[in-house]
Symmetry: D2
Subunit: 355 residues, 4 copies
């Protein structure tokens, strides 16, 4: 291992990242040093740089962003039990690291541990870097025989994980005769539409976006119907849903956007007893009417990232070739370009940094 590593560092909010050489650390006791093969560029990285999270989870620069990480084992800490990983193994990183003892961690939901650390945000440097250190309990090893590439599987550790968990939360309300709509076909949504196909037990699947290219991808990867919502009002969209499915309403809506104006539109599509899952975080407020929420017995779930078992299940799908990452690659030196393109909605699928 070299004594330094290249990394893209957030030195300040609202500024471009800075490319630096920073000291490389060896793997400490329970950690494994991972040579990064690919790191997904997430909208939340942008939001961190923009200060979005400061009210709730104060980030303190300098930070090396990047929480969607795949790579190869480089060094193994002294207390890592034998047989877990070997040097050279391809691994992905489960991102939310918990205290290990609270009721959330003890049920496996480390990603919502109130005392947790999130690599790339708080407590640990992330994957916009040549090497990262990861506690061995948060690694999943991927056998070589599956021929998976880091740039394909890195986005599965957040975009492809968050949406998996989101769709799973609605499974109880899916099945033959039911319908599920995915709002937004971007970095998150292009995965969600594929999970809808796999997890919805024969439901009818609808994709909503404002970009026809993204809707084409959806059509080819699971959507029974696609609806371009650019400039349309809720009532128009309900009419298009009706034209497509014979009902104006949808049983499950997975919101991969989270914009303030999208949320009430999404709820306006919901059938009696319907389920709405918010995983997108573009906006800051939920504003919806109370009476239908109560009288139609809506269920509304927040869904955040995913836990280790969720990621294990996602990787099982990846191994089978059941889930496809639409990826645009960038070298580490182009990180600020990539972030700009993401901000402008120009990336199709997920951008991935290759350090």
């Amino acid at each position: 291992m070299p004594s330094t590593k290249h990394a893209a560092v957030m030195r300040d909010f609202n500024k471009p990242l800075v490319l630096e050489e920073i000291p490389a650390k060896s793997a400490s006791e329970e950690e494994v040093l991972v040579r990064v093969g690919g790191t997904g560029i997430c909208r939340t990285d942008l939001q961190m740089i923009d200060g979005y999270f400061q009210e709730y989870a104060p980030v303190k620069p300098p930070v090396v962003p990047g929480h969607e990480i795949a790579g190869w084992v480089e060094e193994i800490g002294s207390s890592v039990p034998e047989g877990i990983v070997e040097k050279g193994n391809l691994v992905v990183v489960s991102g939310g690291w918990g205290c290990g003892l609270c009721p959330y961690c003890k049920r496996g939901d480390d990603q919502i541990c109130p005392n947790g650390r999130w690599p790339g945000f708080i407590g640990y440097n992330g994957g916009y870097s040549e090497f990262v250190s990861v506690p061995y309990r948060y690694l999943i090893k991927i056998d070589e025989k599956y021929k998976l590439k880091p740039e394909e599987i890195a986005p599965l550790t957040d975009a492809g994980l968050t949406t998996y968990r989101a769709v799973k939360k609605a499974k109880h309300n899916l099945g033959p005769g039911k319908s599920i709509g995915i709002l937004g076909m971007g970095g998150l949504g292009h995965f969600a539409i594929q999970y809808a196909k796999i997890l919805s037990s024969g439901s009818t699947i609808l994709a909503f976006d404002r970009n026809d290219d993204k809707l084409d991808f959806a059509k080819q990867n699971g959507a029974d119907h696609v609806i371009n919502i650019r400039g349309k009002k809720s009532e128009d969209i309900r009419d298009e849903v009706n034209k497509a499915t014979g009902r104006k309403e949808i049983d499950v809506v997975i919101d991969c956007i989270g914009a303030e104006e999208v949320i009430p539109m999404g709820f306006s599509l919901l059938a009696v007893g319907g389920t709405y899952v918010s995983s997108g975080l573009v906006g800051t407020q939920v504003k919806i009417p109370l009476f239908p929420f109560v009288a139609r017995e809506y269920q509304y779930f927040g869904s955040f990232w995913g836990n280790y078992n969720d990621l294990r299940e996602v990787m099982e799908l990846a191994k089978k070739g059941s889930i496809i990452s639409r990826v645009q690659k960038f070298s580490l030196s182009k990180v600020n370009d990539a972030l700009d393109q993401l901000r402008e909605g120009k990336i199709l699928g997920r951008g991935v940094l290759i350090p």
Copy 2:
């Protein structure tokens, strides 16, 4: 049966009800004629008169309000199967009447049937009257031996049913070490606090209201802690929760108010993974911050009235004496006084009309 009956009729929105003699109808085929023993006065009766529901479920005057009905069997329709009820039996009425064939009805949730009728609102006259006709499938017979009185059990068919269903929806998130808070100790909340005791599997129970008399009732009927929230900000209330329980947060909040400013306050009390159930309908909008909803994985359920099995379970508790109705009685001729008192928040527990 006399050829006419007394009833209080809503002739127009935003006007006092009119006391009238209207023709009495015999029980038709599948119906049972019930001599009303007591009818609860619900805030939704007020809201109907005020036009609150017009946007969603258009009511057309004249209407005889009243959907919390207990009474005695007077006449039995010709197609009612033998052995269901006999003349003189004490019965309560399950209020939401569905089409019987849609997926909601076929799972027992007639009260959310999109093609349903609600006696006292739409499709059928209600219990502000000496007699009401009820399809036999919506009656529950109460054996004499339990010595229950119509005025005690009438409020259990909505106030005491809505809150039962609301607390039940949160049971998966309750148990030893968890806490549940009930917002509002009025017509709904004074029941909810009792269900919290019965259904929460050893959770810590908190009652929130602005009226000390109502909080006293709560303290005597299930609350481990009571907090008067009059004039207090969310942060203060969190501090009081902390003083009472050792944590600033609560795992489950049952909102029996639904006022626009109460909802974000209620959410501000919610622990990670917490469950919020809206059953109160005082306001019209939900406005809450998106990021904690997603990142803390909140669950938010609308809960509406209750179904036949819910009511059966409530009546089982009533038979055992496990659930107490706090009741203020009014004669039918005092109906407008009673509605005024309700509007002013002066009724302790539930007002009940005795025709």
Copy 3:
């Protein structure tokens, strides 16, 4: 309607059925008279004739068997609400008819109502007949546009329904990385394997039978792996499971056989935390070891037929062409031949009578 109808009647236990002309009845109040288009021949018809059920649910001859019924509306009773069905409509019959008021019926599970009637067994004549009377609440109308034939959809009302419900009961334990095994590829199992594909959220699917022809059908209709168990011991079968999937164990087993020696074999395949569902009824006893049941936290569900909503969901799959009935047709006059072939295990898929 003619004044008589042809029917195959069980005049006595353990005897061939007798072809008779019996008086045809008009549709009474809430009933619809259905001209039978096809009736599935179920193993439970055989078992009824053999006296299998007498210990639990005494059948009293004469009985017209047949509970898997599809046909066309012939006459509509006077109290059937308008708009439900019209003469000539294709319909299927939901088979378990309940009291309508007990807790099971009120949650939609009429098929397990303790006071229920089962057409073709107890209380009502069945579909081995030209016409049957059915309460309108137990009919599902199938639009002409789907071009479905009675002989294809009749078996979906029991064989294709029982297995749907059985697989649904295990959904909580299925998903990527999990596996599901179906025991028996006969009348029940050839449907179960198809549901496994639709409902298992990406699980690996295994079919077990002693007949290679039936396993071929399974391979073409959902099974990832097929294992011929003829003459093999549990340990051998575990080895074959291992060869196929890389694990010796299976997370979910759906037993479409129920033979006494099959049940412990099936349990021996079950992984820790595994789910076993019994829907087959060939044998009479369950004999399994207690310690692994407890220490490995097995879950064991009995699953019986299906309810109206289950059948609605099955019909949604049929309309989409997602579920295929493998059918062998027999005229009503060949009913005893058909029963003999079933007894000898010679029917591939389901036998259907065409009256």
Copy 4:
């Protein structure tokens, strides 16, 4: 810490334990050394000595038995994070220790980890000893202010935990109008009856045993009705259930015995849709009739010990004084006497060794 400790050692199967002085070990990296304050004497200790588990989980003598452990922190390993425990803290031990990475461990169910270790059985010495070493992730600290004693809380880590988990598994089938029966009022059952009271949401509670003294304890600690089953047949017991509750059947049966003749008796009491939970392990076989299991849609769950969160919840109840241990104390030197008394059914509640 002294250089040796006293312990009771199983040197061979089917022999009395041997009291020995064995070398005392210091706490290694992630471990905490606990000075034992009390260790429950479990029927499974007897069964281990008798060779009961050899078929499934081979135990290799010498073993120091004892898996129900409470005590005080004596030494803290060098890698235990700060703030978890301090010397002198009262702690209980969560007994099933998993690999930490498999799907069971990652959802918190370490006690069913296929690669797990069970202190007192396999992999680690247990609490029939002055000191035990415990990985810090399996400790729960109990604040002094609750004034709990080791001998009271030790039995809560298995007898009081196993039954908690068992009753929890049936919660979905409990509530007003339902009933729950506990079979056996011994070491397990005397806890189960208390949990039935706390967790059953207003169900009617029945206790079954052959010993009137044990039934008296049940009557005082949660049972609405007690039935002495000595020498009675299933039909008689059903009649007594009917006399007590007005129904011959029970919705939930928790089996704290597991004897071969008790299981079919328990199932004969079960209502349609009923839930049976096996936690007792006296016998080796389950033999029950298949038809009612299927046609009445029974649910049957194995329940094994409990996980960390379960134990946390049990300790919350203990802190509130909601759960009472009936305890008989024995000094370590009397261990063989205590085991003999247990074998003869003479211990009321739980025997506890005080080293």
